[in-house]
């Protein structure tokens, strides 16, 4: 190994030892490893069920397929503890609601993903993230 390569190697070792501390992760329960976060997608369908559970809420959406039938897609959302402090309730999505979901898709192509936001039948947009209310003290 020549001296230039040695310097690079040493630099790599030093950098490996010195790393930035992580800021707190928005999705605390686990990482986003299974989602393709490089692009946001949308899909329109009918709510089959809205699960208001920990560690994640789940939106089950019936989406028409090319065979003339319907597939049930699953979207993972933030905890109800988090959403409940940001305008969501367990009744925000009702079975039968026609909504358009913005999401990160699955890396393996399966039908579903990470729920980012949706447009309700009344036109209102509901987001997963965002700051908690500031004037509620």
């Amino acid at each position: 190994m020549n001296s230039a390569t040695k310097k690079v190697a040493l630099g790599t070792v030093i950098l490996a030892g010195l790393i930035a501390g992580a800021a707190s992760v928005a999705a605390a329960h686990h990482g986003f490893a299974v989602f393709d976060t490089s692009s946001q997608k949308t899909v329109t369908g009918t709510v089959k069920q809205f699960e208001w559970t920990n560690p994640h809420t789940w939106v089950w959406l019936d989406v028409p397929n090319e065979k003339g039938g319907v597939d049930t897609w699953g979207f993972e959302g933030m905890s109800p503890n988090f959403l409940g402090r940001r305008g969501w309730t367990r009744k925000t999505l009702q079975p039968g609601d026609k909504i358009t979901v913005t999401y990160f898709g699955m890396k393996d192509g399966s039908k579903g993903g990470a729920f980012l936001s949706c447009k309700l039948p009344n036109g209102q947009e509901m987001k997963m993230f965002g700051a908690s209310p500031t004037e509620d003290n």
Partner: protein, 272 residues
């Protein structure tokens, strides 16, 4: 020759004496006296930490109010300086970072990560103790302020054993006894010699700063210091968080992370 009865009594005596010695040497030997009315009254003189506090994201102050006496909380994520041995351990963990994550099976982080989850915390002040009810994973930390010493040989666990005292308006807490099953930050390992020092202080009536200093002579070449801002909400309550209520995340036999997208009520697919 010793009669069987005498032998039996000798054996029983030795067994009981050994049990007594073991019991008094056990970790739970400090006995807090019953609180007096004066103890309860004294709590009113402490800074008001009561209530439910939102853990704000990242190191930036939530309200923008800076207390010059405390200093400016760091605006950038701080650096972690690992020793070469622990830098190598971290590289090994990162090789499997995407696949293996202990939180996928609902295992909570230990200290200090449990204090950085995006869920609120509730502080309870009682004679001789500060109790922190942590909504994330429904966890609890006990901080003993009754004058007991830090244990010198604590059982290693996720949150350690915490002893604290009041220095003016600041609660200063030392914690020792951490299991190496936990991490300082995701994929950042520590040794069983890790120690954590925390200083809890109000910046204004509804803003708390927690300065956390992690030291570890085997894993860190310098202390790892973070500042986190908490904001009190008088109308918030701690909600339940049962992680296994509807956990659809898993790590399969090969250590690969996945999600179960089978809709509720549909038959489950055959296990892989």
């Amino acid at each position: 020759m010793i009669s069987p009865g005498t032998a039996l009594r000798s054996i029983v005596f030795v067994a009981l004496a050994s049990a007594a010695l073991t019991f008094t040497a056990a970790a739970q030997s400090f006995k807090r006296p019953a609180p007096t009315a004066a103890d309860w009254t004294a709590l009113a003189k402490l800074p008001d930490f009561t209530g439910v506090w939102e853990v704000t994201m990242g190191p930036r102050p939530a309200t923008g109010i800076i207390n010059p006496a405390v200093g400016v909380p760091s605006m950038r994520p701080p650096q972690i300086s690992l020793t070469p041995e622990y830098a190598a351990k971290r590289q090994a963990l990162l090789a499997n970072a995407e696949q293996d994550n202990q939180s996928a099976n609902c295992l909570p982080p230990g200290m200090p990560g449990i204090m950085a989850q995006p869920y609120p915390m509730e502080f309870l002040l009682t004679p001789g103790q500060v109790t922190i009810v942590i909504e994330a994973y429904s966890m609890v930390r006990h901080i003993y302020t009754d004058g007991r010493p830090l244990p010198d040989d604590p059982d290693p666990n996720f949150f350690g054993t915490s002893v604290g005292h009041w220095e003016g308006d600041a609660l200063v807490v030392q914690t020792v006894g951490f299991s190496t099953q936990t991490e300082i930050e995701p994929h950042v390992p520590h040794s069983d010699k890790m120690r954590i020092l925390e200083k809890f202080r109000l910046l204004d009536p509804d803003t708390m700063n927690i300065e956390t200093t992690v030291t570890d002579p085997d894993a860190l070449t310098a202390p790892y210091v973070t500042n986190r801002i908490l904001r009190r909400h008088r109308n918030w309550t701690i909600a339940e968080y049962i992680c296994e209520q509807n956990n659809r995340n898993f790590v399969d036999r090969n250590g690969k992370a996945g999600i179960n997208l089978t809709p509720p009520g549909a038959p489950s697919p055959a296990p892989k």
